[in-house]
């Protein structure tokens, strides 16, 4: 994984496309992050918090029954076991510590499925920061329990009624709010997206996933994986696990929702402060993504992923909604792990491609980015609709 250039670019992608009102904050944040990330005291507090509060390291779990069914050696990096139920907390721990270090007292965030919102509310509560989360109105209905969780944690949840009322619009609204309060408020972006330094900083805070997983696979005697597979909305769990294997021969695979496949169906554009691959129409208007999974319902992708795709270092595929439920049931029944709908996209790709893109016998590492508890009501409805 690369370090962005002085304009915040990974190859042709990235940069800082934000209103002037926010430029000083982006520049300040870059300085603060560079300073903190090279300060052993900060890094040590970040690592200690991950150990004592988040429960890291999360294990790598061999999946023997599913491996046998599929004819591969399948392992899962268990981010579902991290506090709050997904990898999102890793980034939040980093950004909340940085918020306090910058002397800011309030944090705002966008959320799609609610995982990043819950993680942010959690991190804010732990450090005594005020917290407001912007969530598309559609998503507040799809994920109403997560809204309540955030409120229990002391956060204010603002339903966003503009545009498509999903993740993309929650980001717009958080940006608009940030303009009004940037002096005392940090915007805790939840994925490897947005203006520089966010895509780089969030990847750094998530790289712990890949660093741990590489060591754990070795310790299990599995050696280097042939493939590393993760789901991609903005792409933070994928960036985090790829970071541990970018210098190996492993094929890095990102799996997007078919209705939000920015790499497969998008083109270069500028949205939410970054130049990346974006779903847009012939006039440059942003198109709405459509996915059963609120966390993948995003028309863009982190700029480093656009660059990795461009450079051929990572490959991106998509799976349709109907493939995802089967994968979710399969993992639940054969291994006793109910994954998040987002994560089930990555597994759906694996089950589809064994014997084609995945050679039989291959060692495959799946990033099990989140647990499925938040999705069970929706899955129940969808399964009832199928029968």
């Amino acid at each position: 994984m690369g370090v962005p250039d002085e304009r915040g670019r990974f190859g042709d992608f990235g940069g800082r496309f934000v209103p002037e009102a926010l430029m000083p904050a982006c520049l300040e944040l870059e300085d603060a992050f560079r300073d903190a990330w090279s300060d052993p005291t900060f890094v040590s507090e970040y690592r200690t918090t991950l150990a004592q509060f988040v429960g890291r390291p999360t294990p790598v779990t061999p999946l023997p029954r599913l491996s046998e069914k599929l004819g591969i050696q399948l392992y899962a990096k268990r981010e579902d076991l991290a506090h709050t139920g997904s990898h999102k907390i890793n980034n939040v721990v980093g950004q909340t510590l940085l918020t306090r270090r910058m002397g800011k007292t309030r944090i705002i965030a966008e959320t799609g499925a609610g995982q990043h919102g819950v993680a942010t509310a959690t991190g804010a509560a732990r450090l005594g920061l005020a917290c407001t989360v912007f969530m598309g109105e559609v998503d507040t209905v799809r994920q109403e329990l997560n809204v309540f969780r955030m409120e229990l944690l002391g956060a204010r949840v603002v339903p966003v009624t503009s545009g498509s009322r999903t993740l993309k619009d929650a980001v717009n609204e958080a940006m608009r709010e940030w303009v009004t309060c940037v002096a005392d408020t940090h915007y805790c972006i939840g994925s490897v997206m947005g203006p520089h330094p966010f895509p780089w900083m969030v990847r750094e805070f998530q790289s712990i996933i890949g660093i741990e997983a590489a060591a754990q696979l070795s310790a299990l005697g599995a050696g280097e994986p042939d493939l590393v597979v993760a789901c991609v909305g903005g792409g933070s769990n994928a960036a985090g696990i790829f970071a541990g294997f970018a210098n190996t021969d492993a094929r890095l695979i990102g799996v997007e929702a078919a209705g939000g496949a920015a790499i497969a169906s998008g083109s270069p554009g500028v949205l939410h402060g970054m130049r990346s691959m974006i779903l847009q129409d012939e006039f440059g208007q942003i198109e709405e993504a459509h996915s059963m999974s609120a966390g993948l319902d995003y028309p863009g992708i982190g700029p480093e992923h656009a660059h990795l795709a461009d450079a051929g270092r990572a490959e991106y595929f998509s799976v349709a909604d109907e493939e995802v439920l089967d994968a979710l049931s399969l993992l639940s029944e054969s291994e006793g792990i109910i994954p998040a709908l987002e994560t089930a996209h990555a597994l759906a790709w694996i089950t589809r491609e064994v014997g084609t893109l995945i050679p039989r016998g291959a060692t495959v590492l799946l990033n099990l980015s989140g647990r499925g508890d938040k999705d069970v009501a929706q899955v129940r409805q969808l399964l009832a609709g199928q029968s």
Partner: protein
């Protein structure tokens, strides 16, 4: 120097405070008649918003107008076609988000603006650092690239932004997206920071809602931009005559204020 800047400097040197109303192109079917009415009402330049699906710097009023315009099928090309019937000598300035120009092609966009009779462009999500390619495309077409400074912009950066802005410098009166307000906000301080380092005409926008507020703001600057307040009356069904009266109320208040 770009033509737009020549005109706007002449306006300032002639002692006139600039009044720049903002319209969302395509928000109503008769939007060009509204623009014409604003010219009659005493506008010195007109900002024409080209709608974008994700307007990060805009509040609810301009978001709503933009959505209506997009539903009506407004595009960069349709704006140009509509403008063909406009009959005015005052400068036209486009305002839109970068992806519209980037997707259409930067050189092609700048060329079309020129052909449509538009002599400047404001792109609020295009930071100075990311602007060189757009500036080059506009240079070839005599389209002025207008940049913003905000209350959060440190003095050293104000100087850098002012050096690159052409036509005028857009001074944001407050830390906010477009929308209503009733005071002058930080206008005096932001303009003073500009005056320390640049003689570029400096216009204040964001939250200019009332004629008296506009007049007070014009006293500490070279002009004012009136956006959401005007777009709101248009969304509420204003006729061309209403728009002319609205603009004239700002014109009169500004002209009657004591000279500075």
């Amino acid at each position: 120097m770009k033509s737009l800047e020549v005109s706007l400097r002449a306006l300032r040197d002639g002692g006139r405070k600039a009044l720049v109303p903002y319209f969302v192109a395509g928000a109503t079917h008769d939007w060009v008649r509204h623009v014409q009415a604003a010219a009659l009402g005493g506008a010195d330049a007109i900002e024409i918003g080209i709608p974008f699906s994700d307007p990060m710097m805009d509040g609810v009023v301009i978001q709503e107008a933009g959505l209506r315009a997009l539903h009506a099928g407004t595009t960069l090309e349709s704006v140009g076609r509509d403008l063909a019937v406009l009959d005015t000598e005052i400068p036209l300035i486009a305002m839109t988000y970068y992806n519209i120009f980037l997707h259409y092609g930067l050189e092609r966009s700048a060329g079309r603006l020129r052909e449509f009779g538009i002599s400047g462009a404001i792109v609020p999500d295009l930071s100075l650092e990311e602007s060189p390619e757009w500036t080059v495309a506009c240079a070839a077409q005599d389209v002025a690239t207008i940049f913003l400074v905000a209350p959060s912009t440190p003095p050293a950066r104000v100087e850098e932004v002012a050096e690159h802005s052409e036509g005028f410098l857009y001074a944001s009166a407050r830390m906010a997206v477009t929308g209503a307000s009733s005071d002058e906000g930080d206008a005096a301080r932001v303009v003073a920071n500009v005056r320390d380092v640049s003689d570029l005409p400096t216009y204040v926008g964001i939250g200019i809602t009332l004629p008296e507020q506009a007049a007070r703001t014009a006293m500490v600057s070279d002009g004012v931009i009136v956006g959401s307040a005007l777009v709101k009356v248009i969304l509420d069904g204003a006729s061309a005559h209403d728009v002319e009266k609205f603009v004239r109320s700002f014109r009169d208040a500004i002209d009657e204020a004591p000279k500075t």
